[in-house]
């Protein structure tokens, strides 16, 4: 077990180093050189100034030297500054991660609350009309592009009906009287992104729950339990569902790993200030430092969470052994 954890940690760290180096190189390949951007706003600049600026920012050095400098300042806890907003990156990434976490958790809880009962109900009545309809809808949910779903939701609920705001995370300029009104106001902005995120995962989870439950109910001990004369409720919940839980926990922990990476498209579409949107907007606006840091942090969050998920899986199913 300890060697397994140790090996996984080493793997994760190695992957992060390789990935951040690759990513650092990719950033230099993006359109828009930082110095060129500075020049464009100042017509009086001379070639000597450009050279001096390059030297000042260390841009005249080869990429691997710059990477080394960047990573050492990063490890000292200095995340650097955003070029666009002139504020420390740490001040941007912190709230972004918080908002992403709220959004993803709400969506995860909602989709589990709907999908698992749905999947179990279908598994107990396989090939019924209800099962067939749920299966069709699940497929539609999995296949629907989330950004399109978001657009349709905006068209229906914001444009046509005018019930919910089309984007943002709180009413601007509103002063909250108490914490209750604050939560109420922010929840209003959460509804549409959460729903558009959830539809896809409801489809995936319900299909998964259905097959897990079907698999569990096919076992011999279910027949034994029935033959013993146990009531159907006890057979389903104590014998069937408890065994179906194991694969379900896997998929839930796997989805947990993405709670910090953010839903890039949904956040962008709804102008929700999460980590995914931060990565996207900083790349689009050539804010390389923010892009690098937010990308690396959200990826390391994903990797750490998936490591935790793997370990949790072992706790849930003692039959799993870590060699």
């Amino acid at each position: 077990m300890t060697t397994y954890i140790f090996r996984r940690i080493i793997q994760t760290v190695l992957l992060l180093i390789v990935l951040s180096y690759v990513c650092f190189n990719l950033m230099t390949l993006m359109p828009g050189d930082p110095i060129e951007l500075m020049i464009s706003s100042n017509p009086k600049i001379t070639t000597e100034d450009v050279a001096r600026l390059r030297e000042f920012y260390g841009l005249d050095q080869p990429t691997y030297v710059r990477y080394k400098n960047w990573i050492s300042t990063l490890l000292e806890g200095d995340l650097g500054y955003s070029r666009t907003y002139r504020i420390p990156v740490a001040e941007m990434i912190g709230p972004a991660l918080k908002y992403t976490f709220i959004l993803s958790m709400c969506s995860l809880i909602l989709s589990l609350a709907i999908a698992i009962p749905l999947g179990i109900y279908c598994a107990l009545r396989p090939n019924s009309k209800f099962d067939y309809i749920v299966n069709l809808l699940s497929f539609a949910g999995i296949s629907a592009p989330s950004f399109w779903l978001g657009i349709v939701l905006i068209i229906v609920f914001s444009v046509k009906l005018g019930w919910l705001p089309a984007g943002g995370y709180q009413t601007t300029g509103l002063v909250y009287d108490n914490i209750f009104s604050e939560i109420l106001d922010k929840a209003k902005y959460l509804i549409l992104p959460v729903v558009s995120l959830s539809i896809q995962s409801i489809g995936r989870f319900s299909r998964f729950a259905r097959s897990a439950m079907m698999e569990a109910m096919r076992n011999d001990y279910i027949r034994t339990a029935r033959a013993k004369g146990l009531s159907e409720n006890i057979v389903i919940w104590n014998h069937g569902f408890r065994n179906a839980l194991i694969p379900l926990i896997t998929i839930v922990t796997l989805s947990l790993s993405s709670v910090f990476s953010g839903a890039l498209i949904t956040e962008t579409l709804f102008a929700y200030p999460g980590a995914g949107r931060l990565i996207y907007t900083s790349i689009i606006s050539n804010d390389f430092n923010v892009a690098m840091v937010s990308f690396i942090i959200s990826i390391s969050m994903v990797l750490v969470m998936s490591l935790i998920a793997d370990l949790l899986y072992g706790v849930a199913d003692p039959r799993i052994s870590y060699e």
């Binding site: 793997q11 992957l15 990935l19 990513c23 990719l26 950033m27 230099t28 390949l29 993006m30 359109p31 299966n135 069709l136 497929f139 539609a140 999995i142 296949s143 629907a144 592009p145 950004f147 399109w148 779903l149 657009i151 349709v152 905006i154 068209i155 444009v159 993405s258 990476s261 953010g262 890039l264 498209i265 962008t268 995914g276 990565i279 996207y280 790349i283 689009i284 892009a291 990308f295 959200s298 990826i299 994903v302 990797l303 998936s306």
Partner: protein, 407 residues
């Protein structure tokens, strides 16, 4: 052992001859593909998927024919008729009309002059300068313009009438933000989106086959390296990674900047990026199959006969991997279409003016309040095609899975 007999036939009593026939039919051996096909036929959703996909393949391949039949093309802009609702008739803008007349006059100066004098003589138009008579005429209502030209004696009558008729266009799905025909853009978008999806799925299946078979067959160090890489790539959140890579500028890469010389570089770039990150599932699948095949007797037999590794992998192992691979490729097409649409939607995929369903959605966002249909139609098509590929893949999976075969 037959799938062809419907299940009800077991219970119904039939005459001795027909039951004899049925038994004979049941005892006939069926090939694997026959079993798969007859299983597949039972699955209505999978059949729906297959037919929808065939329909869209025909649309994509027949795009030029559709263009010819409808008489509108995907790239003609018409700034005076932006965001027209579906089922609308549209007149060509003034500059398009006058350009046509200008060309006509340049080609046939004498005939044009004759028409001009006749137009003025019959008092159809009252231009300030006599040279403008034809320009005045072309800007009249199309019915009236045709009526007038019928009365005029000129060898170019039919040409002019055709010109007037061509200025009218009918747009079934309306027009987009530049006044282009939405239907034709969707048709050409089908070409791009389906093309990218299929290409990515095939290439990534090939890469996955290569990596998976190498890892599975040779094992040891090769296996460790390849599978660690696969796991590492699988553990990454795909969309942020794709966004970072899609944002790079090909001009700055020494070897790849050749691509930018051939027009559609955004398509090539997108296919390349999607291929980089979609082979892992196939690789794992192939590796698993090859690992279990490696222990089988027929592989040992081939080895004993002195077959090379290449022969064993390609001739003896691949045929056993094809079926699950087919499922993975089918599901992969749907996924690739979704990712293409997502990246194009973020403005990092297929670049305009090349239409794709994703970038049509992106452009539609601008005026979502006034023209919601522009955003709804491309998304519906994505949904329909992806759902079809998923149904097809699921149906194939059930059909080839020996556990689910109903006998």
């Amino acid at each position: 052992m037959s799938e062809n007999t419907p299940p009800t036939s077991h219970s119904t009593t039939t005459s001795p001859e027909t039951s004899q026939l049925k038994i004979a039919e049941m005892e006939k051996a069926q090939s694997f593909s026959q079993i798969v096909f007859s299983q597949f036929k039972e699955n209505k959703a999978a059949l729906f998927g297959a037919f929808t996909i065939i329909f869209f393949v025909f649309v994509a391949l027949g795009a030029p024919i559709i263009e010819w039949a409808l008489g509108v093309d995907a790239n003609t802009q018409n700034v005076f008729n932006r965001y027209k609702p579906p089922f609308s008739h549209i007149q060509a803008s003034q500059d398009v009309r006058e350009k046509e007349i200008e060309n006509f006059i340049r080609r046939h100066p004498d005939a044009a002059e004759k028409i001009q004098t006749q137009l003025i003589a019959q008092n159809h138009v009252q231009p300030i300068r006599p040279e403008d008579a034809l320009y005045e005429w072309i800007n009249l209502e199309s019915d009236k313009a045709i009526e007038i030209i019928e009365e005029i004696d000129t060898p170019f009558k039919n040409e002019l009438i055709n010109k007037v008729k061509n200025f009218n266009s009918y747009h079934i799905f309306g027009t987009d933000e530049l006044g282009r025909d939405v239907l034709m853009r969707l048709v050409y978008g089908t070409q791009v989106s389906m093309g990218v999806g299929v290409l990515v799925a095939l290439v990534s299946a090939f890469i996955g086959l290569l990596v998976g078979s190498m890892a599975g067959y040779y094992g040891g160090f090769i296996d460790t390296v390849l599978m660690r890489t696969t796991d590492a790539l699988l553990s990454l959140p795909l969309l942020p990674v794709l966004v970072v890579i899609a944002a790079i500028d090909l001009q700055k890469i020494p070897f790849l900047n050749v691509i930018t010389q051939y027009g559609n570089e955004s398509i090539i770039k997108l296919v390349f990026i999607l291929c980089l990150f979609s082979w892992m599932v196939v690789a794992r699948l192939v590796r698993g199959s090859i690992l279990s095949l490696r222990e089988r007797e027929f592989i040992l037999a081939a080895k004993t006969l002195g077959a090379t590794d290449f022969t064993i992998i390609v001739r003896h192992m691949f045929p056993n991997v094809i079926a699950p691979l087919l499922v993975a490729v089918t599901l992969g097409v749907g996924e690739s279409i979704l990712f293409e649409a997502a990246l194009s939607f973020l403005g990092l995929g297929i670049q305009p003016p090349t239409p794709s369903w994703g970038n049509m959605l992106f452009n539609a966002l601008e005026l979502i309040y006034e023209a919601p249909f522009l955003a709804i139609i491309p998304g519906l098509l994505i949904l329909l095609v992806v759902v079809s590929f998923n149904f097809l893949g699921d149906g194939l999976q059930d059909a080839i899975d020996p556990k689910s075969v109903k006998r």
